[in-house]
């Protein structure tokens, strides 16, 4: 389901890039904090099927101005 493989060495770079993409208006991928506390990238089309906290939803509401 997730874009990233667990324990991928450049995971934090990928996560950071998803956040930046969100800033830039690319809503194609959402970050979700799963039950293990891991931040995983999920295609926006599938995010409703995934359990967990929608991290980028929280982020973009207040902290991250997208436009």
């Amino acid at each position: 389901m997730s874009f990233f493989k667990k324990n991928q060495s450049d995971d934090c770079t990928d996560v950071s890039q998803v956040i930046k993409d969100q800033h830039d208006g690319n809503r194609g991928v959402e970050l979700v904090m799963n039950d293990d506390g891991e931040l995983v990238a999920v295609p926006a089309s599938q995010v409703d099927k995934v359990d967990g906290i929608k991290a980028t939803e929280i982020a973009k509401k207040d902290y991250y101005s997208l436009l």
Binding site: F4, D11, C12, V15, I58, Y63, Y64, S65
Partner: protein, 140 residues
């Protein structure tokens, strides 16, 4: 200070997002251990003295002090690094801006932002890019 009802709500919401073994919540302080995707563990303290009426101060208490890629303690306010200085050797990080804060913001939301901040911080350690390459600024 939080009402007892608010404290219960905060605990419930935190326990939905995090293991109750991860955090300790009192009316004055939330202490929580967060593990990043790289499996590093950080300890975070959130000062709740005026919660939920003011933006709570968030500190990274372990590692202490938090170091940047160059090995320098991150104890100064820094716009590019999204820090607000330090107290007692602990880095205070930026999350919500005052203009964006309202009493309807719950602690679990703050913690998720801290979790994101930590991931971007680790990216800084890896790449050298400042955090504001990825995070925008919380005004106010």
């Amino acid at each position: 200070m939080m009402t007892e009802e608010r404290l219960k709500d905060e605990f419930y919401l935190l326990s939905q997002a995090f293991s109750v073994k991860q955090f300790k919540l009192t009316s004055n302080t939330l202490t929580i251990a967060l593990q990043t995707n790289s499996k590093k563990i950080y300890t975070v303290r959130i000062d709740l003295a005026n919660h939920p009426y003011e933006v709570p101060k968030v500190f990274i208490t372990n590692p202490k002090p938090l170091l940047d890629r160059s090995g320098n303690p991150m104890l100064d306010a820094s716009h590019p690094m999204h820090t607000l200085g330090g107290e007692n050797g602990c880095t205070r990080i930026c999350h919500y801006g005052a203009s964006q804060w309202h009493p309807g913001v719950y602690l679990y939301q703050v913690v998720v932002k801290v979790r994101v901040w930590l991931e971007v911080y680790e990216n800084h350690l890896k790449t050298g890019y400042p955090l504001d390459k990825y995070l925008t600024t919380a005004a106010g």
